[in-house]
């Protein structure tokens, strides 16, 4: 398990250093995800070994957003003044993006004959 955590952190570290030194517009962990994917394709056995550790971490992904979420208390005044417009924009824009995204996926899947 420690070895798996070391692999995750190493991929993130290489990702962060690469993104910062090359000034890439993607976050370090996203590049780290790409690097780990390449490692798994090259060494499929690592994926099987790591799966219990990563699914443990991913099944509690919600927990990891709590600290940032609590930060909303520092914006209560702003939400009270512009809250209505901001809330309407968040709700309707998220619905619009979900609907447009899902229908585009389904439309293109039908066109290209891609079945689940």
């Amino acid at each position: 398990m420690i070895a798996h955590i070391a692999i995750l952190l190493s991929a993130q570290l290489i990702g962060e250093v690469t993104v910062r030194s090359l000034g890439l517009p993607i976050p370090g962990p996203v590049l780290g995800m790409g690097l780990l994917l390449i490692l798994l394709i090259a060494r499929p056995k690592i994926a099987t070994d790591m799966a219990p550790t990563t699914s443990g971490l991913l099944s509690h992904l919600s927990l990891l957003f709590v600290p940032a979420g609590v930060g909303i208390i520092t914006h209560l005044d702003r939400i009270a003044t512009s809250g209505f417009g901001l809330t309407a924009a968040l709700i309707f824009s998220t619905w619009a993006a979900l609907i447009v995204g899902a229908w585009t996926f389904i439309g293109l899947a039908r066109l290209t004959g891609s079945r689940p």
């Binding site: 952190l9 798994l40 709590v66 901001l86 924009a89 968040l90 979900l98």
Partner: protein, 244 residues
Amino acid sequence: MNTADTTTDLAEIWSYLSSEPLLWLTATLVAYLISDAIARATNRSPIANPVLIAMLLLGGVLLLTDTPYQTYFTGAQFVHFLLGPATVALAVPLYQNRAHIRKSLIPMFGALLAGSLTAIASALLIAKSMGVSGAELLSLAPKSTTAPVAIGISEQIGGLPTLTAALVILTGIIGAITVTPLMNAMGITDWRARGFALGVAAHGIGTARAFQVNQTAGAFSGIGMGLNALLTALITPYVISILL
């Protein structure tokens, strides 16, 4: 022991606790366990979102005890830090679903472009039409992408990074709560489409929800989130210069 001594002892214990990360780290885990128990008790009803419940519990405690967010974060940062390794860990379900993914590359890229543009443009247009302006309006633009990226974009375009962080979290919660009824109402049963659209529109909080519902939806949601982090960073400045 008289009353004065007890008061001093309590004050000493409180000053120890408020200067160490232990208290708020423990509180974060306990608040999450409570909210997760509530979510399980409701059979993972979308409205019982664990992030939302834990936020309300902890936010309430901080306001009641007059604790600054910075003090809370010195403890909670250890949990926050794990977002990075968890993002890297998404490579494993991605790898396990590689056969699915290889078959859906074209639908994925089309849905990414359409979903990402809709998320940015509709947020700006709706808020602007309702009188939101200036830095607050700009803070809204990257709301559908993952928090660290959104914060970087917000700084770059002249928004308020901490407001953006709050808007990103709210977007994730809205997406996670409403996706199941919305997709069911529209008759969309393809887990790939449901998951991918959710990852694009509602980043990691959406992905956390997707993993609760279906593993394929979770894997596609993770890809949607990762790709949209990249695309939003690239296109937001252009969308703003066209629309505003």
